[in-house]
Symmetry: D2
Subunit: 472 residues, 4 copies
Amino acid sequence: MYDIRGLNEECGIFGVWDHERASELTYIALHSLQHRGQEGAGIVCSNNEYLFGARGMGLLTEALTKDQLASLREFPHAIGHVRYATTGGSELSNVQPFLFKNHRGDLALAHNGNLVNAMSIREALEDDGAIFQTSSDTEVLAHLLRKNKSTDRKTRIKSALKQLKGAFAFVILDEDSLTIALDDHGVRPLMLGEIDGSYCVASETCAFTAIGAEYIRDIEPGELITLSEDGIDFDRYTDVEKPNMCSMEYIYFARADSEFRHTSTYTIRKELGRELAKEMPVEADIVIGVPDSSLAAAKGFSEESGIKQEQGLLKNRYVGRTFISPGQEARERAVRMKLSPVRDVVEGKRIIVIDDSIVRGTTSRFIVKALRKAGAKEVHMGVSSPPLKNPCFYGIDVSTHAEIIASQKSNEEIRREIDADSLTYLSVDAMHDVYHSYGSRGQCDACFTGNYPIEIIDQVLPQEKDLKTKGV
Amino acid sequence: MYDIRGLNEECGIFGVWDHERASELTYIALHSLQHRGQEGAGIVCSNNEYLFGARGMGLLTEALTKDQLASLREFPHAIGHVRYATTGGSELSNVQPFLFKNHRGDLALAHNGNLVNAMSIREALEDDGAIFQTSSDTEVLAHLLRKNKSTDRKTRIKSALKQLKGAFAFVILDEDSLTIALDDHGVRPLMLGEIDGSYCVASETCAFTAIGAEYIRDIEPGELITLSEDGIDFDRYTDVEKPNMCSMEYIYFARADSEFRHTSTYTIRKELGRELAKEMPVEADIVIGVPDSSLAAAKGFSEESGIKQEQGLLKNRYVGRTFISPGQEARERAVRMKLSPVRDVVEGKRIIVIDDSIVRGTTSRFIVKALRKAGAKEVHMGVSSPPLKNPCFYGIDVSTHAEIIASQKSNEEIRREIDADSLTYLSVDAMHDVYHSYGSRGQCDACFTGNYPIEIIDQVLPQEKDLKTKGV
Amino acid sequence: MYDIRGLNEECGIFGVWDHERASELTYIALHSLQHRGQEGAGIVCSNNEYLFGARGMGLLTEALTKDQLASLREFPHAIGHVRYATTGGSELSNVQPFLFKNHRGDLALAHNGNLVNAMSIREALEDDGAIFQTSSDTEVLAHLLRKNKSTDRKTRIKSALKQLKGAFAFVILDEDSLTIALDDHGVRPLMLGEIDGSYCVASETCAFTAIGAEYIRDIEPGELITLSEDGIDFDRYTDVEKPNMCSMEYIYFARADSEFRHTSTYTIRKELGRELAKEMPVEADIVIGVPDSSLAAAKGFSEESGIKQEQGLLKNRYVGRTFISPGQEARERAVRMKLSPVRDVVEGKRIIVIDDSIVRGTTSRFIVKALRKAGAKEVHMGVSSPPLKNPCFYGIDVSTHAEIIASQKSNEEIRREIDADSLTYLSVDAMHDVYHSYGSRGQCDACFTGNYPIEIIDQVLPQEKDLKTKGV
Amino acid sequence: MYDIRGLNEECGIFGVWDHERASELTYIALHSLQHRGQEGAGIVCSNNEYLFGARGMGLLTEALTKDQLASLREFPHAIGHVRYATTGGSELSNVQPFLFKNHRGDLALAHNGNLVNAMSIREALEDDGAIFQTSSDTEVLAHLLRKNKSTDRKTRIKSALKQLKGAFAFVILDEDSLTIALDDHGVRPLMLGEIDGSYCVASETCAFTAIGAEYIRDIEPGELITLSEDGIDFDRYTDVEKPNMCSMEYIYFARADSEFRHTSTYTIRKELGRELAKEMPVEADIVIGVPDSSLAAAKGFSEESGIKQEQGLLKNRYVGRTFISPGQEARERAVRMKLSPVRDVVEGKRIIVIDDSIVRGTTSRFIVKALRKAGAKEVHMGVSSPPLKNPCFYGIDVSTHAEIIASQKSNEEIRREIDADSLTYLSVDAMHDVYHSYGSRGQCDACFTGNYPIEIIDQVLPQEKDLKTKGV
């Protein structure tokens, strides 16, 4: 898929303990989390005796075959993972969950996030003789767990997790337990649910809706939850707790029906749109949201401003790798195949277009041009988040500095480049106000402000790691 | 793809004459027409000496390889086709355009529609020794053209077209001309455009937007247009003209940005929604459109009724064949993986759900149930078209009578089956009023009324034909 | 597969009537005929009501899936076909059997051979309105059968066959009969067998061995045999009979265990080797046959000359398309990956190498070079057939004149080019003597002598036909 | 492929140092070693800075794509591996060479053989925190190398190798050296060659013939050879040397043109056939070898006994997975599709059939039956090796005890089961005499005698290991 945005979530995870349809629920849940990762998918199950699983490349429906799913049917415990699409070559060995076989017991891991000291730990372990097979930072946890000599599982896990810095939501499966852990900043979302009396865990609540589970609550930073035949055990791996949930989850990544602290991102995005309307006093005839992720913000903008919302831009549902001769117009043509204006809606109108973020500016430039060509009299661009300026080290594949337009140019320069009549971003303060009003205990805004809440120890972006650590 | 709707357009066509990027334009145009058919796609080109082409199964991006596209690059004339997905086994031999090689000259055909006397003609031709290779009615035209002994191309084409009954939009390519023909009822849409001084033709105007062409006008019933080195020739193959454009194109099939007589279906659907609001005086807190095709109607309903529209239902963008254990709930589960309610939007609300049509009722039943589970106090169903009761013989794969819920049950029975608090369909008169107000010269409403404007000679539904005529 | 030889059989056919395992027998039989064609394979069956079949590209085991085979299980009558590999692009539409559906009845055809007036007939039929879908000459017969108005099947078939010139072995299946026809020269082999009281027909008797059938007799030139519920009907479509069986079937194509007039080609090839020994009085230490097809001739040579035969050359069983950088040595490298000398067998020896034919000379040149490198003192080349000089128009894909070394060069020139110490071909007379001694009633030797027994009407080689007649 | 024999070699390896076509030579060499493994193949290269490679499932020609090969073109050092086909599910993660990335340097391994203490070492390493990713015993060496703290490479390698028990031929590649090691019993063959002034190493000399290299000598048990920019370094990792080359390499596995101590297995097999003739004084008309591996032994038998050898059995070159309905005759049918008698050669004859080994007896039973059906008067079975009775722990996938016919039954019982007129195996002594006469310094005969030269520490057959150690 021609990725115009340059923003990719790294993963989605799910787990369920003690349910007779464990693998099927996991499959359905992963399907609902597919927007968090399209490179690969996998499921690992336990039957209290050993672990068994399957994984594959591509969308869930391609990654796992009917026969593979059938082979998992009898297992009562399961974890699953969907993985994001890298731009370059990707490989099966990096698809999760990872399953580690050992003569003393099996272990499977699925991870959402990014560790910022994985390289340092890895090098120390390698110097001690450890062999890593993947280029994934997730493997570090497995080694730390195996190196620990404690006979108590929870002690081993706590000790290992304490060594990790960065963003992580983990589900860890062994023969007789499922462990759920969230880093002490709680950068990535992780939700607890219940179905037919069994507990489940997911990156987003939309997975609960898909399988028919109840959404209980958000898992808190630093929590360590263990599911086993002894029931559920709530604990913490650390006393530290510095809530810093990723702002981009609210703004862009999470599905609009997914909830954080029992409010849908649809509602939050509408509110961001409302706030933007207050900060963007432009006169216009209609408001248009860029489909699909910005429709809610446009709705809020419309309600606040009283300017009518219309579907002035449409998204082609059929995408996929097209083979058009490259050249100077190739990128713009790719956007044109994805978005089209509705002429009689926009003709002769003064238009406010709401987008939830601007990464490279390519899409914005095309939208303004297309709307003008379709007859728009004015095109004002409103962005329901602050200017995106910095790369993310906590699990999102933002393009590098050089590609992020707002890290290179001023607002006015961007406005000119995208040829809008005006350009308004939401302020950082207004954004935080919205989050707080919906119960957020603290948000990471590093990509907007450069204030990284977790020290970046290894100074390496996810996409650079591969070169150093990839096997065959 | 698990087809819940049971409504499938049969095809989309495109053609362009004398453009240096003919095959690339065709490729992009077909991409924008992909919603009209996902079973297969093909392109045939002419270089004034011979015809050459490629076709394949699946979505356009799967059907044609990069190498195949490259091999078509130098040809200045092209036609293309996307074909709909049958439920059962499909096959390459039925993917269009058909290319017929002959020692006196080549011929390629692409067809949107369905002929109602194809079997009769075919049997007569077979009795005279003709051999048919496909189960497609389109092949009949090729035989009629070849049988005709006239040395004048246009004479041959007119004579052949006059023998055909039914719905057809044809593009016909030979070495040195591209012929465009629309049946005398004009059941299927066909649009004329212009790009860089060259003419092009497409099933919908969204193809023009995608390639950057100007939309000139709708082709009229009975028209016969020839493009050649002599320029464009406007003619008619028949004096008869009984306009009967398919109503379902307006309601459901055409992309929302596609225009008919220079009005987008988005605007028309909004108007259908407005009319429905007048006929459905229900009190409610919010209006929700079923994404994506019913959002416009919901918008119109909201504007007319003054009831606020919300995105209370979301559609999962990732579908594909899933492998869930079959059983009594399988179908419902499939819908649940496609549509989800936004809880905090619907909770405690009296809701009007707008859908553009009801075929089997499965989706409606799920929607009502899901909204109630999410906390809706009332769920009223409004349908922005009349009750769908009859199969189509003119090019749409409606399920058979037995599967169409409204052909079997009364309004009240349907309401009870889908468990809505009320159910209102748009009246046939109101529907026609909307069409006429936007310049329609006559609409086919046979699927609603049973008044078939073209006599059904062969009494055979498209899906039954295969069994009788399919080769290896 | 990198084809070094440049000699390809065009096809193998099989048919069986009224056997409960008809499709399975056909599958096994085609597997044993795989050496006659590797491009594609297909099976069409009848259940007395309609025909049904499957076909695909590649080797039999790739061409037909397990599900496809299962779907044919209940049909009691079947015909099958394996098709040869063209050098360029091949396509499914040319894979046989061809199945023609018609409202008056179905018809399937499988053909081995090549018609020399197919283009002429085709053009005449096209002028009369017929449409051809394949570039195969086989399709001509279907059209002739359909054009004929006689109500008697056998009359229609006889009349159609009489219009054909060239080499053909046909099996023709309709709902209630299986017809077997061989051209009046009997160029291609066709054998009659019996299994469990049912009749079967095959290109070679090895198919009978594979399925456990009895080999009854060779079908004679001009014969027309019909199998139906009335039993077997022996007839002729013509009174003419000019036996001219292809010599290359004996020399190279047929499997060594296949029999002609109840003598295996193994025995005949041994005899050709014996005759060559008489005509090649070279002193040597060992005789080596080029594996696999020339081992029998080498055996005969050894027995006649008294010189010990050794396996001095080995063939690598694993071939397939390799990706070696092209260049001047690429072709030689390809042979080297296929054939290796056994050093301690050939070192210090005077060697006679027996090959059954020389087409381009590439293989011979490599063999001599490799044997010398392995230490051979002398290398004499004996060919158990006359010099191959002329292309075949009757069903074999010999390379064109320019590529056939013996059509361009004298014996001495060839000897020098392949760097052998001597080069001896079998004489044409000796070859014919061998055939006659084993009951042959006449052999085509056109590729050696240029005496074409059937007039070449269309003057077109099979490989050229495609360009003129290929559809999408 | 339907494996009738139940004997599978585990692997073939190759390496070349400092050659401008290193990866291409490796590709060609692996192609010639394909008979040693068909499950997967891979190549890893070094450019003195880092290692890079590619591997895949299936035959070499399927496993590596053209693009992958091209990406390896510039690397001057390479090792490669072909892997045997397991009966059950196989997986990419077990395909070699294994490539281990590490921040201090890369490492690649390819292995032929089987370690008998791999599980013990693995468990000890796991108890120390190591994580294994494959179910292959080969990975143990990588861990041992990484755990060792010595800064001298050769010291590390010697120390690691000394801990291994069992059969191993290793090629080990790092950035600036290629190490070659053979276990102190020399169970698996390993050969040293030279091409264009560069050294190469291969499992068999046929690889040298294929690439045009000179065969220098057999690598001796316990040798440790290092190639680097300092040239070649000959050393030993141990003083122990107990030559015990696998007898089955001579009898069955190695290609007939491959040489051991400068004698081809063709010559050795002929000699085994000669010895068998001395021990099997049966009167007969012809001798037939089972193609292809037993033709040499039959040749020797014929020369010694004076009984004429004929090609009375033919092998179908086209195999692959066929879809025949299973059932009682399925296995026999599979053999019948592979082997056919030549009727007129065997009819009325007293026949001696020479096979090189009998595993389950299925093939022998079919051969006798088929020859009798084709008219043989008597069928005597001669086996050019002793009765195969015991499983192999050193790298060959012999079926388990229960399946090996000679471990369950007496000679007479086997004769009756295969319905031969007589059955004679070669004696163990005669076999050893042949080997010694050709320079063998000691042969493992455990599969015949049960005298295992290397203690079986883990008591686990290769096929059982997977269950305990396989990841996703």
